[in-house]
């Protein structure tokens, strides 16, 4: 098993650092260019949520990202130091007339994650939220 670990302050500029790392880890893992893009996007969403909703952009609170390559599996854990949450909703969310009328233009992150990875898991406590993403070299095992 090979493990790469990253810690960033809760400033969205550093999401780009995680994303760049994700691209290299995905390429090293043997992913196609398209799958690397999926990985980057899923991780980008998770890290931005950790920064914004978990750590409320307090730069003293860190976001940790752990990449673990284990045979055919790439597991990525994104953790924040927030208060935790019980309203993580991965259900389908698309652009529609209603949201355009009301001007609610957000809420796509979790849905995108659920579409882009092979499987995912959430655990949230008063110590923060951990989102675990799993992708398999040949797709869903």
């Amino acid at each position: 098993m090979e493990r790469v670990e990253l810690h960033i302050p809760s400033n969205p500029i550093f999401e780009r650092v995680v994303r760049a790392s994700a691209a290299e880890v995905g390429t090293a893992f043997g992913f196609s260019a398209e799958r690397v893009e999926d990985l980057k996007l899923a991780i980008s969403e998770a890290v931005n949520n950790a920064i914004e909703h978990g750590n409320h952009r307090e730069s003293g609170r860190l976001v940790a990202v752990v990449f673990e390559i284990d045979g055919e599996k790439l597991e990525v854990r994104i953790s924040d130091e927030g208060e935790g949450t019980d309203k993580l909703d991965f259900s389908r969310r698309v652009v529609d007339e209603e949201s355009l009328e009301t001007g609610y233009l957000r809420g796509f992150g979790m849905y995108l994650i659920s579409e882009l990875v092979d499987d995912y898991e959430v655990s949230s406590s008063h110590q923060g939220t951990v989102l675990t993403l799993r992708l398999y070299r040949g797709g869903q095992p």
Partner: protein, 108 residues
């Protein structure tokens, strides 16, 4: 105006070339500013864009909202296959269909 958008106009058309490679939380604000100055036909050019996340999608939706308010037409140009896939996932393509560089030539 921010230099994150390179603007080109002819007749009824404004082409907004996004020059940031990332349409993300960092660039979203500067990009969506340009939705305050659209034309009856507005085209967002993604040629130089290699990454879009949901913060970017929110910024792009501001153009959709503004176009609907003014009865303008909004198109996307040079969208990579990956971003076409993402736009389809969130049904963005319904509100911002893609246009071909060639079809645009008719308006020049």
């Amino acid at each position: 105006m921010s230099d994150i958008i390179r603007r080109e106009e002819f007749g009824e058309v404004a082409v907004l070339h996004i020059t940031s490679t990332s349409v993300d939380a960092i660039s979203a604000g500067a990009i969506s500013e340009a939705c305050q100055d659209m034309r009856p036909i507005t085209v967002l050019d993604f040629n130089e864009v290699s990454f879009i996340n949901s913060s970017g999608i929110s910024a792009l939706l501001k153009f959709v909202v503004a176009a609907r308010k003014s009865g303008f037409q909004l198109y996307a140009m040079n969208v990579s296959p990956h971003h076409q896939k993402i736009f389809k996932m969130v049904e963005m393509s319904r509100f911002m269909p893609t246009i071909d560089e060639r079809d645009l030539a008719a308006y020049r």
